[in-house]
Symmetry: C2
Subunit: 679 residues, 2 copies
């Protein structure tokens, strides 16, 4: 040790020990891990949260897969998408193509409902690289003797690693090369290129992480819902409705053009602390209670309220609905009445207070004393999770494949993620609608973790800028990859103030907005009658069906059944409405007129919608007909069909004037028919 | 079997078998995995490629960590960042705060160089939730007897799980509650709140993935480089320069204000196929060859070219540079001359052609017959990787901690990712500059996988819109998190045409642009002499030092040494220039005048730069002085210092006129000194 050196102090040693030098073994392990992925496959798109959740599509769609793919050096690379359906062991392979700037594109068609997984593989294409270099040298007049040897070696290498069939093809190719006068020409021929692009050696094959896409059946993305309370279908407020009464109502719902008929819970209703009419704390002896207070001595979530009928009656209803082109959707509401059998059978699924009483639902200082919530953790895990899953499977076995889920944001997110996958693995056609009205990120998370459809903020969007902002977010940002809003114009819980004050013109405007802006939309019965009688000062219905049996006059004057039927027919006849993200807002120089186009990606279905948001006044506006969407100049002409009046006309030039009288019609819908240029 | 039932057909069975129902065990495993993460922690920001790569910062920075954190229900949640330096076992904890809309923010300070890892933990805060509910009930006048029992239970639960010290505090708290006249008030007191926020029970603790941030020493983000060829420093083209000649040049470089002195390779140079002057294929007997043809019988990458000196000479040079405030940077160029010892020692590291000859470097039809490339896979893995790592560690042991890496994009990316981490684990202060001029995504990937700094497209950006677009991308998009460009105004390989044609005004303009737009910038010697003699028609230097020894007159008339010294001084004196992303372009109504502000986040250092991009004509423009950045109205006054002329003046109002005469000064730099309002 020289005089300038000192033994390191204890403190310095302690400090240096904080940087533990990796052992040769550790270094080598990391080296081998990293070396495995020589080719970069990054920026895979579309994806949700780094691939944590499946993209959503419907059967019949093709999924495009984009990625940046790059490698050191100048070698030519190849890439392919490997994909399979959840139930298939083997992978299918679709080649990818380089687009530009190291961006590649591939994809595959979704033919079966269910979860699909896919990954990208990329490799260095040795023969293509050799070929490009050899060609350049030959073109530059350089000798290629050694290159020919190298090229032939690549064919041999392919042959040595090939299956029996391919061995034969590659042996033939080798014989051809050896017999050729110009071996270089034979190696560089298009035939050799083709064979070697399929069978040639792939070096440094690198595989990306695996991603998922869920293919729902088309109804997941396009459906019109009609909600009613079965017990209110007898035609008399004095008689509890039955499933047979609902069967009698099916032609009405069918004629309105709906696809889905949705019922609030149909299970036995608790008696203890039952709510009375208008949500009063004391129920009268004949009050039926809220169907959301689920469970009574007759049974819980897997039972039917006796006054509605039997399981046989229910089976007849499901079949009759199907005959009318309607599918039944049921409510899945996890809370229990105080009389639910689970409370006795599984006290460990519930919260108990220090005084030994059960913890009823509350949101302090509000109390919901007629219901109790299960908890999902502690002793409830995993049995409660399985029990709830089995409730859903039970109703699927009884012919129901659509579930509207009540308040999912108050139950653990992992539960939904698990339960929905559990069900859809067995029944890929199952649909879950999340009834969450809560904070935006919770709404989005529920959609990401598996809910097929989502309630939305539609009911609280009223002005033109609000609609443009909200629909732009829904249709033009990442959330279109996983969130499918279902625009309900009203619900038993929401009697929005604009309907209370806007009258019939407002009902018609909101109907058009819901039906044309969203793939999925719905109304709760009474909407078509322009019913909006509120609990004074609140956005709730007076004499709500939630707490009593009602009878309605379905032919009530001023009803808008014609509009409903018309809108549902137009939706079905024009593909544009099935393409939720095919939405563009256009200029209408009037803040009360919302004006937008709906279109398919191929632009072969193109519809313009004009809505007067002001229910009280005639509004007019100059509007721009989007000739540019078809590559037409501003002075061009285009054919149009008024889908409401069923008239055909020609629009000359870009700017036109539209006038919408709320009393006459607060909306207009035009189909554009651009003349296809001769081929 | 009823008459309506049939045994399923074989096909139907096969189909159903494709959906294998998960076993109870599989379902339960997935349930338990998902259940563990009850709380959502998502959209963690900043991050690079989903967290695949460390963010880049320098010591002294604080890193902000943002995330969306949410949970089912209405419980109050808590969150914290857990972080540690690479060499420390224990985690430090910094609480996070809710900002808005489920967005949380936390962070920590980077005090030591090296890799740091961090994760977010979130939990349901049972006591805070209890407290909020109990308070609301009390305020609503409801009885809270049972709540008091529940609150006390939470304190007990905390006590039961606490460390000895905390047990004492919690026992005291329990005693206090029990002794209180109003137990509810004691439980709801601020003191109890504080204690329980620290020690109270955390439910459903959920931890995010782990992310990384690398803290470089500050020189990684802020440095001025001067490049020279040691062999050209003798003052005579007839005598090979030595390290001692370089030592004699240190005062010159120091006076120019540079921080880093960078040399192309200093290793023995091959003789076989040596390149002659001006890259000719035949070298004369006295031609020194290209320093990039590394390796000769005297040694390879761990040897010094004998004519430059010995390792002792090198050690003196390193020490002398340090005394002059300069740090030596070396070139790390992996290619070998045909005389490199490795070719005989490790033939398995090289490619051999079918005719038995070594595969020299080529990019068909171009051939680089004086050098050969190693390959990194096959038999070269892992020994070559370790050998190359050890070359870097060897030079670090000789006092070099900055490496300019030649053509990294032609070597496997996993090698760099592995090698840089290997070195920086041992030497967190090591800096690697990627000399890649290639496609944008490759440039970015090199930065992501660990290169400290990157060569850039600066040399090919010439017009105002080009600068605005490129600098906006570099400073305002995600790549600012990982890419630190080093703006070289010229290099031995690049004699850009704008310098060839723009003369002295262009040299001055390019100097200002490089020095003020980038944290790191550099020049290759001769730039300060306005040297731009090209190989005719090419962006290369005539009589390039790459192939011959040159001697320069450092006092050559027309030199811009004063500008260089001034710019380096201004950069050092104003913090704004250390904040690469603190850049905003402002309005100057003239397409030839580029006008921008540089600023610190706190705006306590704020400098405006005006550059005339036209070397031939006087250009003037109205410009907007950004009073709004300081919250000042358009008619306000602000103090300014002209940092070039060292004058102080007052700017009255927003719009001013600037006039830049290329012959006089093609640039102006003003510091703004807003009057701080009285506190």
């Amino acid at each position: 040790m020289s005089p300038n050196q000192r033994a390191p102090s204890r403190r310095a040693r302690a400090k240096s020990e904080e940087f533990p030098t990796p052992t040769r073994q550790q270094s080598e392990r990391r080296l081998n891990e990293l070396a495995r992925a020589r080719i970069v496959i990054e920026e895979i798109w579309p994806r949700i949260d780094c691939g944590a959740f499946p993209l959503k599509r419907v059967t019949g769609d093709a999924i495009a897969v984009w990625a940046d793919i790059l490698c050191d050096g100048h070698e030519i690379i190849g890439a392919a998408v490997h994909w399979r359906h959840q139930g298939t062991r083997s992978w299918s392979i679709m080649p990818m193509r380089h687009v530009d700037n190291d961006r590649w594109r591939g994809g595959f068609a979704l033919e079966r409902a269910g979860l699909h997984e896919y990954a990208i593989e990329a490799w260095r294409d040795l023969f293509a690289t050799w070929r490009a270099g050899c060609l350049k040298k030959r073109q530059a007049g350089q000798p290629v003797d050694v290159e020919v040897l190298a090229g032939r070696e690549l064919v041999e290498r392919a042959r040595d690693g090939a299956s029996r069939t391919n061995t034969r093809a590659l042996d033939a190719l080798l014989a051809e090369i050896d017999a050729a006068d110009d071996a270089a020409a034979a190696l560089l021929s298009p035939g050799t290129e083709e064979t070697m692009s399929r069978l040639g050696p792939k070096a440094d094959v690198t595989r990306s992480a695996t991603f998922e896409v869920y293919a729902d059946r088309p109804a997941a993305a396009f459906s019109a819902w009609y909600e009613l309370m079965p017990r209110s279908q007898s035609g008399s407020a004095d008689r509890h409705g039955t499933f047979d009464d609902v069967i009698a109502r099916l032609p009405y719902v069918r004629d309105l053009g709906f696809d889905v008929l949705y019922f609030p819970p149909i299970h036995p209703i608790g008696r203890t602390k039952r709510k009375g009419r208008n949500n009063s704390l004391e129920a009268g002896p004949d009050d039926p209670g809220s169907p959301y207070a689920i469970g009574a001595p007759e049974g819980g979530h897997d039972a039917i309220h006796p006054e509605l009928g039997t399981f046989d009656d229910f089976a007849r209803l499901v079949a009759a609905a199907q005959e009318h082109g309607l599918e039944i959707a049921l409510d899945f509401a996890i809370q229990c009445s105080l009389d639910h059998p689970w409370i006795k059978e599984h006290p460990e699924w519930f919260d108990w207070r220090p005084d030994g009483t059960i913890q009823y639902a509350e949101n302090p200082p509000k109390k919901y004393e007629d219901i109790v919530n299960v908890h999902f953790y502690g002793e409830a895990l995993p049995d409660l999770w399985f029990a709830l899953r089995d409730v859903v499977l039970f109703w699927i076995a009884h012919g129901v494949k659509i579930f509207r889920v009540d308040n999912p944001h108050t139950k653990p997110l992992p539960f939904w993620q698990w339960m929905i996958r559990e069900v859809q693995t067995r029944h890929p056609e199952a649909i879950f609608l999340a009834e969450a009205f809560t904070r935006p990120k919770m709404m989005k998370r529920l959609a990401k973790i598996g809910f097929t459809q989502s309630y939305s903020y539609f009911t609280w969007r009223e002005t033109k800028p609000e609609f443009i902002e909200y629909l732009t977010e829904l249709t033009q940002t990442e959330c279109r990859e996983y969130m499918r809003p279902n625009f309900f114009a009203n619900t038993p819980d929401i009697n929005p103030h604009h309907l209370q004050t806007g009258g019939r013109p407002m009902f018609r405007a909101r109907l058009v907005l819901a039906a044309t802006l969203a793939g999925n939309y719905g109304i709760y019965n009474g909407f078509e009658l322009c019913e909006a009688e509120p609990v004074p000062g609140r956005e709730e219905y007076l004499d709500s069906e939630k707490y009593e049996i009602r009878a309605w006059d379905w032919d009530r004057p001023g009803n808008i059944r014609d509009d409903v039927a018309l809108l549902n027919r137009i939706r079905h006849e024009h593909q544009a409405f099935r393409n939720f993200s095919g939405l563009r807002f256009y200029n209408a120089w009037n803040d009360h007129i919302l004006y937008y186009g709906k279109m398919t990606p191929a632009m072969d279905s193109f519809v313009l919608v004009f809505v007067n948001l002001d229910p009280h006044n005639v509004q007019g506006a100059d509007v721009e007909v989007p000739l540019w969407e078809f590559g037409l100049p501003d002075h061009a002409s285009i054919e149009a069909v008024d889908l409401v009046r069923d008239t055909r006309f020609t629009l000359n030039g870009k700017v036109h004037h539209i006038r919408l009288d709320p009393d006459e019609s607060p909306y207009a819908i035009w189909q554009l028919l651009p003349r296809r240029s001769a081929p």
